[in-house]
C-alpha cells in the first residue's frame, strides 16, 4: 500500500488526499447537516454555518495535503499549491453532486432523502447551477491554499489564526446564548446591535473584530507566556499557592453567579451539563477510566436511582416521602445493583464485559417497560408527580435554584473522585487496569477492588438518576436507553479516560454544545460516533489527559504488532510533527522492550 503511494507523483497524491477528504464533505452534505445549519448565519445573511462546515473540511484537507506531501526543500508556493489542488478536489466533488442533481436532473432524493433542492441551493451559493459549480471549485482551491498556507506559516501565527476562526464559528453556533447574554443589560444591547445583524449573524465590522481580537490576544499570549511562566515559578511557594487559591476563588464565585448573569435558559443547559455530563461522566470514569472495565449498561443504574426516587416520592404511586429521605434508598438500590451486576462479570475480559453490561442495561429497560411488571413499575407511561427537591421550606423547582443543588452535588462528586483517585483504592484500581495478573500477584484483592469500582460508579449514577427524576418531575422508561451510557462514555473519552478535569471539559463540549444547538440534536450520535473513532485513532489519551494514562494508551505493544514482510517505513522529512511523534514513540517502545528483556534474564 505504502510502496505504491511512494511511487506516485506528488500531484497525484495531492489529488488523492483531496478525494479522500471530499468524503466527509459529501457525507456532511448528504446526511443533511449542511442544510440543518443553513439558518445560522455567520456573516450577515450571506454565509451560513452549513457552508462554513464544508469550508472547514476544505481547509483541513489543504493543510493535511501540504503536511503529508511537501518536502522541506520545496518552495512555499509549491507547498501551498498542494493544498490548493487538494482543496480543488473537494470543491469539484461537491460540484459533481450539484451537477448530477441540478444539471442532469437525476432525482437523488428517492434514495438520499437529504439531497434536496435546498441543499443544492446552499451548494450553489444561491446562484445558477453552472455559476455555483464554478464558485465551488474556486472556493475549494482558495480554502485548500489557505490550509496549505497555514502549514507553511510560523506556528504562532497559525495558532492565532485558528483561534480567531474558532471564535467566529463559536459565536455563530452559540448565537442564541450570545443574544440572551448581551440583551440582559442596556449598554451591551447597544453593542450587540453594532456587532450583530437581527438574525444573529455578525456584521462585517463584527466579524473583523471577532476574528482580530482573539487572534491578537492569542498571538500576544503565546509570546508572553514563557516569561509569565518563568516569573510565576520564580515566586516563593507560599505566594504561588495563594495565587492558585485566588484563581480558584474567582472561578467559584463566577460559578455561583452563573444563573444571575446568564438567566434561565443557560442555567437549564448548565444543569444538564452537570447532571448528564459531569456527574454521569465522573461515575463512569471510575469504572472505565480508573478500573479499566468498559461498562455499557451504565444507564441501568441511572434508571434504578430514578425509579427508586420516583416510586418512593410520587404521591401518584403512593410514595409520599420527600427528596432527602428517599435519596439514601436510591443510592443504596443502585449500589446493590452495581454489586449484583459486578459479581457475575468479575472474571470476564474487556470485550465480553462490554456486551454483558450492555445486555444488562437493556434488560432493565425492557423489564420496566413490560406489561408483566406493570403493577410495580407502571409500564410505558411511566410515573408522574415526582416532587422537586426541597431545601428547608423552599422547593427547588426552577432551573436557577436547582442549579445550586447541582453545583453542590457536583462539588461533592468531584471531591470524592479526586480523593478516590489518590487513595490506596484508586491506585489499586489503576493497577488492575494496567495488568490484572500482576496486580493480583502484588496482593490486590481483585474481587473487592472490582466490586468497589462497580459499586461506587453505580452509586454516582444512582445519585444522578435520583436528581434527574426529581428535576423532571416524571419519568418514562424510554428515557433510559443506551444513549445515556454512550453520552457518558463519549464524555470521558473526549476528556481523557481516567482524567477528572477531562470529564468536566468533555461534558461542557459534548453535553453543553448540543444543549444550545437545537439543530444538532438529530446529528448528535452521528458526531459522537465519529468523535469516538477519531479520538481513538488520533488522540487516544483525550484532550485533557491524566499523565500516567497517556503513555499507556499511545504505546503499542511490540509483541502484538506483527510487521508484515515488506520494506521498512520510508524516512520522513526530519522536523515534521509526525516525525517527532514517531521518534518519541519508538523511544518508548525501545525502553519497553529493554525492560522486558531485563525481566527475562
Amino acid at each position: 500500500m505504502r510502496q505504491r503511494a511512494q511511487g506516485k507523483s506528488p500531484l497525484r497524491r495531492a489529488i488523492d488526499v483531496g478525494l479522500i477528504g471530499s468524503i466527509p464533505a459529501l457525507l456532511l452534505a448528504l446526511v443533511g447537516m449542511v442544510d440543518a445549519f443553513s439558518n445560522r448565519y455567520l456573516l450577515e445573511e450571506s454565509v451560513s454555518t452549513g457552508q462554513v462546515m464544508l469550508a472547514v473540511v476544505a481547509l483541513i484537507v489543504g493543510y493535511l495535503a501540504a503536511r503529508r506531501i511537501s518536502l522541506p526543500a520545496q518552495t512555499v508556493a509549491t507547498k501551498i499549491g498542494y493544498g490548493a489542488v487538494a482543496g480543488l478536489m473537494v470543491g469539484l466533488v461537491l460540484a459533481l453532486l450539484l451537477f448530477i442533481g441540478e444539471v442532469v436532473g437525476i432525482n437523488l432524493r428517492k434514495v438520499l432523502v437529504n439531497a434536496s433542492p435546498a441543499l443544492y441551493e446552499i451548494l450553489a451559493f444561491n446562484q445558477a447551477p453552472a455559476v455555483g459549480m464554478l464558485l465551488l471549485a474556486l472556493m475549494g482551491t482558495l480554502l485548500g491554499a489557505l490550509g496549505g498556507a497555514l502549514f507553511v506559516m510560523p506556528a504562532r501565527l497559525r495558532s492565532a489564526i485558528i483561534t480567531g476562526i474558532t471564535v467566529i464559528i463559536l459565536l455563530a453556533l452559540l448565537r442564541d446564548i450570545v443574544k440572551l447574554v448581551f440583551q440582559q443589560y442596556e449598554p451591551t444591547t447597544a453593542l450587540y446591535r453594532f456587532l450583530f445583524t437581527p438574525n444573529g449573524g455578525l456584521t462585517k465590522i463584527g466579524l473583523l473584530l471577532a476574528f482580530l481580537l482573539p487572534a491578537a490576544a492569542d498571538y500576544v499570549w503565546s509570546a508572553g507566556r514563557p516569561t509569565l511562566d518563568r516569573r510565576y515559578h520564580a515566586l516563593p511557594d507560599g505566594t504561588q499557592k495563594s495565587v492558585r487559591w485566588v484563581g480558584l476563588a474567582v472561578a467559584f464565585i463566577l460559578l455561583l453567579l452563573f444563573p444571575t448573569i446568564f438567566g434561565r435558559f443557560p442555567s437549564e443547559a448548565m444543569n444538564n451539563v452537570i447532571l448528564l455530563g459531569i456527574m454521569m461522566g465522573l461515575g463512569l470514569n471510575i469504572v472505565v477510566g480508573f478500573a479499566g472495565m468498559l461498562d455499557l449498561g451504565y444507564v441501568g443504574f441511572f434508571a434504578i436511582g430514578a425509579y427508586t426516587m420516583a416510586l418512593l416520592t410520587s404521591p401518584q404511586v403512593g410514595g409520599g416521602m420527600n427528596f432527602w429521605t428517599a435519596l439514601p434508598f436510591s443510592l443504596l438500590a443502585s449500589m446493590i445493583a452495581g454489586i449484583i451486576l459486578g459479581i457475575p462479570v468479575l472474571k470476564m475480559r474487556g470485550d465480553y464485559l462490554a456486551i454483558v453490561t450492555l445486555g444488562f442495561g437493556e434488560i432493565i429497560r425492557v423489564l420496566v417497560l413490560s406489561d408483566a411488571l406493570r403493577p410495580w413499575f407502571y409500564g410505558a407511561p411511566g410515573i408522574t408527580g415526582v416532587p422537586a427537591p426541597n431545601v428547608g421550606g423552599m422547593l427547588l423547582n426552577n432551573p436557577e435554584t436547582l442549579y445550586y443543588l447541582l453545583i453542590a452535588v457536583m462539588g461533592l462528586t468531584l471531591f470524592i473522585s479526586l480523593r478516590l483517585r489518590d487513595s490506596r483504592l484508586g491506585r489499586a484500581w489503576m493497577a488492575v487496569r494496567e495488568d490484572e495478573d500482576v496486580a493480583e500477584a502484588m496482593g490486590i484483592n481483585l474481587v473487592v477492588t472490582k466490586l468497589m469500582a462497580f459499586a461506587t460508579g453505580a452509586t454516582m449514577a444512582g445519585l444522578g438518576g435520583a436528581i434527574f427524576a426529581a428535576k423532571l418531575g416524571s419519568i418514562v422508561p424510554q428515557t433510559f436507553n443506551l444513549l445515556i451510557s454512550v453520552n457518558a462514555l463519549a464524555v470521558i473519552i473526549i476528556g481523557g479516560m481516567g482524567s477528572v478535569p477531562g470529564v468536566v471539559v468533555g461534558a461542557l463540549l459534548l453535553i453543553g454544545l448540543p444543549e444550545v444547538l437545537r439543530e444538532f440534536a438529530e446529528y448528535r450520535l452521528w458526531v459522537y460516533g465519529a468523535l469516538l473513532v477519531a479520538m481513538m485513532l488520533f488522540k487516544p489519551e483525550g484532550f485533557w489527559p491524566d499523565e500516567g494514562h497517556r503513555r499507556e494508551l499511545t504505546e503499542h505493544d511490540p509483541e502484538e504488532t506483527p510487521q508484515a514482510p515488506g520494506p521498512a517505513d520510508p524516512p520522513l522529512p526530519p522536523g515534521t510533527v509526525r516525525d517527532r511523534a514517531a521518534v518519541a514513540r519508538a523511544d518508548i517502545r525501545a525502553t519497553h522492550t529493554e525492560d522486558e528483556a531485563g525481566l527475562d534474564e
Binding site: Y352, F360, I363
Partner: protein, 363 residues
C-alpha cells in the same frame, strides 16, 4: 481433594452464581411443565414456533459468522457488525422497491415467467446486498481497525462502538428515519402442509439458503488456500507471516467474508420480516453475538449451532417458560431471555457449547 477441602476453596461469588443459576433453571423447568400441562397451545402451534425459531436462528447464525471469524483472527469484537448487516438491508431496499414496481416479484412477470423473474430479482438483491455489506465491512477494517492493531484492548473496542453509532446515524441521515417495508414476494407467500403441521414457504427458503451459505463458507475455509490462510493467521499471526502469508490481506478477506454473510442475512431478514430501518442492526447484532459466544467464539460450526439454538430458544422460550408461570404478555420479554442466556453462558461455560477444541488450542 477431599470434600471439605473443596468446600473451603469455594469462594462466595461462585456460590452466589450457582444459586442464581439453579433458581433460574428451576423456574424454567417449572414454567415449561406448567405451560405444557395447561395445553393452551396445540402441537401444531408449538411446531410453528419451532420452525420460526429455526429460520430466525439461521439468520442469527449468518451474522454470527462475521463476529466469530473476526474474533478468531483479531481477538476483538467487531461491535459494528450489526450495522454492516443493516447497511446491506437498508441500501438494497431501494433496488427491491424499484424492482417490485416493475413487477419483478409478482405475476405481472415483467421479465418473463414469474419463477424466472423472481429468481433473477432475488439473486440480484443478494448480490447487491453482499456487495454493500462487504464494502462497509472492508472500509471499517481499513479506516477504523487496522491503524489500531496492537493497541490496548479497550481502544479498538471503543472505536468499534463509535463506528457502530456512526454507521447507524449515517444510514439515518442518508436514507431517512422511516421504516421501509420490503416488497412481498408472490412466490414466497404460501405454506406447505403435512397433516396438521404447516410451514411457510418463506421460512423454508430462509433456512435452506442460510444453511447452504454456512456449509459453503465452512468448505471454503477448510478446503481452499485462502481459507487455510485465514485459519493460519487466526492461529499465529507471526508464524503465518513467516510462512509467506500476507496477514493484512487475509484479515481484509476475513472481514469481506463476514460482510458477505451479513449481506445474505440482510436479504433473508428482509424477505422474512419485510422491513428495514436504520436501527435494525442493533438487536440482531447483539443476538448474533450471543449466538457466537454460545457456540464458542472463534469457532465457525459453533456459530451456526449457536445461532440455531438461540433462535429456537428465543422463539419457544417466552411461551414455554414464562406463559406457564402466569406472566402477562411474555413475548415482550423475548430479548430478556436472550440476554440472560448470554450472561449465563459467559459465567458458567465461557467456552461455549462446542468450545473445547478452541480452548485447548489457545490455552
Amino acid at each position: 481433594m477431599t470434600l471439605t477441602e473443596r468446600l473451603r476453596r469455594l469462594d462466595v461469588t461462585t456460590v452466589i452464581m450457582w444459586i442464581i443459576g439453579g433458581l433460574l433453571l428451576f423456574f424454567i423447568v417449572l414454567g415449561s411443565i406448567q405451560s405444557i400441562l395447561k395445553g393452551t397451545y396445540t402441537p401444531a402451534q408449538w411446531f410453528d414456533f419451532f420452525v420460526f425459531g429455526i429460520s430466525q436462528g439461521s439468520i442469527y447464525a449468518l451474522i454470527a459468522l462475521g463476529y466469530t471469524m473476526v474474533y478468531g483472527i483479531l481477538k476483538m469484537i467487531n461491535f459494528a457488525h450489526g450495522e454492516v448487516f443493516m447497511m446491506g438491508a437498508l441500501t438494497t431496499y431501494f433496488l427491491a422497491d424499484e424492482m417490485n414496481r416493475r413487477g419483478v416479484f409478482d405475476d405481472k412477470g415483467a421479465l418473463g415467467p414469474t419463477l424466472l423473474s423472481t429468481l433473477f430479482g432475488l439473486i440480484v438483491l443478494f448480490a447487491v446486498a453482499i456487495f454493500i455489506s462487504m464494502t462497509v465491512a472492508v472500509l471499517l477494517e481499513r479506516v477504523a481497525y487496522r491503524p489500531l492493531r496492537g493497541a490496548p484492548r479497550l481502544v479498538p473496542l471503543i472505536t468499534a462502538i463509535g463506528a457502530s453509532f456512526f454507521l447507524q446515524y449515517t444510514a439515518r441521515g442518508l436514507y431517512g428515519s422511516n421504516n421501509r417495508s420490503y416488497p412481498n414476494v408472490d412466490l414466497l407467500k404460501g405454506t406447505v402442509t403435512f397433516g396438521q403441521f404447516s410451514i411457510q414457504v418463506v421460512q423454508i427458503v430462509v433456512a435452506v439458503t442460510a444453511i447452504a451459505m454456512m456449509i459453503g463458507l465452512y468448505l471454503f475455509v477448510q478446503r481452499t488456500k485462502t481459507g487455510k490462510a485465514i485459519l493460519a493467521v487466526a492461529e499465529d499471526k507471526q508464524a503465518a507471516a513467516l510462512m509467506g502469508i500476507d496477514v493484512d490481506r487475509t484479515i481484509v478477506i476475513t472481514f469481506a467474508l463476514g460482510g458477505a454473510m451479513a449481506g445474505v442475512a440482510a436479504i433473508l431478514y428482509a424477505i422474512m420480516f419485510r422491513q428495514a430501518h436504520f436501527f435494525m442492526g442493533f438487536i440482531p447484532g447483539i443476538k448474533a453475538f450471543t449466538a457466537a459466544v454460545l457456540g464458542g467464539i472463534g469457532n465457525i460450526p459453533g456459530a451456526m449451532l449457536g445461532g440455531l439454538f438461540l433462535g429456537i430458544f428465543e422463539s419457544l422460550g417466552p411461551t414455554l417458560f414464562l406463559d406457564g408461570l402466569g406472566i402477562n404478555s411474555p413475548n415482550q420479554l423475548k430479548d430478556v431471555i436472550a440476554f440472560t442466556m448470554l450472561v449465563l453462558i459467559l459465567i458458567f461455560r465461557p467456552t461455549g457449547i462446542i468450545g473445547e477444541r478452541l480452548s485447548e488450542k489457545k490455552a
